[in-house]
Subunit: 407 residues, 2 copies
């Protein structure tokens, strides 16, 4: 205890110290509960690091981005200073409405869109808008995305993990009292399966029957490689249940911190008010730059280009996983989209051994166990290919094969 | 009621509809509770609009900003994509630590700073970190800043307004159960008085005695015109009670959405975790641009330049208020800082008449009543001079005098 009242933390017995206890509770909250697809690399050599959740920006047309950014700043400087609309810049909302209509068949207009600081803020705002602390049950996928779960938990929800199988979220096992269902239908995070048409219909039925809201996280929905995307849940939503959440962290880059939510009409005003109260609005020059980037077709072009790049990386990875040394240990989850691939293992012990072997060979691969949410879930490895090129993929998988051969 | 289950809102009697009620509560939350210094102009002609809370950006060296922005983007593009530190870019935190040490005598290092999306996010994160819903009492100034109040209320606090007089917050009237005190010591918002040395000491004593936290909103603390600034509360804080909150919305521009909080050490980790959960981190190129702008001395130069500009505007305004036509109605609150000036009136009726008269003359002035927080508070007018030049000030005040003469 320091002199001069510095006993906030150590002295909890005094009657006036209720706030001290509060502080302690908060300060003791577990770190690292949030990590998931944004987790830092753990392998020493990032050149062979199959980390998750990061895109490749080397093919982005940065010269165009800089030019549009400079132009946005010039136009911005000519306007009087002031606060902007909490909902987002109209031109960006227009661009997002076009983008999701075209890329994801979600028909909406610019007035239906709320611009957020990445998908994470969308989850946070939705949670704070819908969750009644201590009274709202939120169902999440297990394995699933920890930061979304954390947003609902922080808002005071009772979070219930629900199993995922080859068809995605097992809708039949949703607790009837769930009032919010968080789901990644286009490319389940982290397993990578797609929510089947049957399950999609069942989930919409569940929302109708139980008057539940659905938070549809479409984090990498732009990156499908077989040209036959399922409709978004938002597209088949007949009950105003679906909050469609997207991000530019995968299609462009995470440092941009821009994403969006297309909520049901009844929730829009409340979400905008939450956004205003959370941080007024997003960075204006960044919004204006992105709006021009979309409007001039650069985003669509970049996504098309990266679709080919990621498809090729995924093929390389799948081919490597089919070699006998690896096929003995791992079975890839079927799928044709996204920026990462999951492969199941027979046991947790196998996974731990594989991760350790890979690390010894300077290859970073990740265990599914980090995403279990406490539920029994399959064991396996995750290979992100957003931030690793063809050569490094081949080199990394070859090193992995070599250490396995020596076992 | 639309077909297909679209009865979310209208059908609250059914047993399964608890979430519907929740939705309705939320959707019904009053709009416009947040506005305050960020409020939109109400006069028709913005050339004579004394709106609050917006700085003048016409004197900003935009060419330098664009150059640093382009350079930041070039460096950013060379790095692999990924998520950045939730606490903020190290170089920016370094720059902020220098800035507040130099401009506000708050001694801190870069590790003590959390970068936020403007001051509003700092209030929101602090509220969500410290407030136990339904159990924490937060004292705010009345009149005061509505968006800060809204952040605490949204986190579930019981917000108690406390009177302000010529010496600032009346510390003697703080409810003993207050565990958080939100205060604007450098330039009370909206009255413009400075928290006296006596009250500062008393407030620190209160925090020690009651183990309360103090949220020190230093929104325009850079702009003092008499060269004798009081120490920040943070500077004289001996009990690790003070969360020092600053913003670049006044010293640079609101669209940047960058601010910061320097919390007591015991709260730092919890705040960073909240930030990570709220939106991962702030826009990276914007942070890097600002870091370079500070590091190269441009921020300090801009603040020095604008201090002269705003001081001259304030003098013009004060001179106009001393003319007989206006002195009959209004008595300016003493003060030598900030981007706005308050002038008290004898009655609410006088204020309403003055606002209406001004509006008829195409002059935008604002009533103190918007900031009362339900408490009895003096009536008066607010004149922001951040976004209005010398000529428009003179023209506006002349118009105001003219209509008053005709009464």
């Amino acid at each position: 205890a320091r002199p001069g009242g510095g006993s906030f933390v150590s002295d909890v017995a005094r009657p006036a110290s209720r706030s001290v206890a509060a502080r302690r509770d908060v300060a003791r909250e577990p770190r690292g509960a949030i990590g998931g697809r944004a987790s830092a690399p753990t392998a020493r050599d990032p050149a062979r690091d199959f980390r998750l959740g990061v895109p490749d920006v080397s093919a982005l047309d940065w010269a165009v981005w800089r030019r549009l950014s400079a132009r946005a700043l010039r136009a911005f400087a000519r306007q009087p200073a002031g606060y902007a609309a909490a909902q987002g810049q109209p031109a960006l909302r227009e661009g997002i409405a076009h983008h999701v209509s075209f890329a994801r068949a979600v028909s909406c207009g610019s007035d239906d869109v709320l611009v957020t600081a990445g998908a994470q803020q969308a989850f946070d705002l939705v949670a704070r808008t819908l969750v009644k602390p201590g009274r709202t049950v939120v169902a999440v996928e297990a394995p699933g995305y920890p930061p979304a779960r954390a947003a609902f938990a922080a808002a005071g929800a009772t979070v219930v993990p629900v199993r995922v199988d080859a068809e995605g979220l097992v809708v039949d096992e949703l607790p009837p009292q769930a009032r919010i269902v968080y789901v990644t239908p286009a490319h389940q995070f982290p397993l990578g399966c797609v929510l089947s048409a049957r399950r999609r219909a069942a989930l919409i039925d569940f929302a109708c029957a139980h008057r539940a809201a659905i938070v549809e996280d479409d984090y990498d929905g732009e990156f499908r490689f077989d040209g036959r995307p399922h409709d978004a849940l938002k597209t088949i939503d007949r009950s105003e249940a679906v909050f469609f959440v997207g991000t530019f962290s995968k299609s462009l880059f995470p440092g941009l911190r821009l994403g969006y939510v297309v909520p049901p009409p009844w929730a829009l005003e409340a979400l905008i008010e939450r956004k205003r109260q959370a941080d007024s609005h997003c960075n204006v020059p960044a919004q204006d730059t992105l709006a021009a980037f979309i409007e001039q077709g650069h985003l669509a072009r970049h996504v098309r280009r990266m679709r080919r790049v990621y498809a090729s990386r995924r093929s390389l990875l799948q081919a490597a996983l089919q070699t006998p040394e690896l096929a003995r240990w791992l079975e890839p989850v079927a799928g044709t989209s996204g920026l990462h691939l999951a492969a199941l293992a027979r046991s947790r012990r196998d996974v731990d051994a594989l991760v350790a072997d890979a690390r010894r060979a300077s290859v970073g691969v990740y265990s599914l166990d980090e995403y279990r949410h406490g539920l029994r879930a399959p064991h396996g490895l995750l290979f992100g290919y957003g931030a690793i090129g063809d050569a490094a993929i081949e080199d990394g998988m070859q090193r992995l094969r070599r250490v396995l051969r020596q076992r």
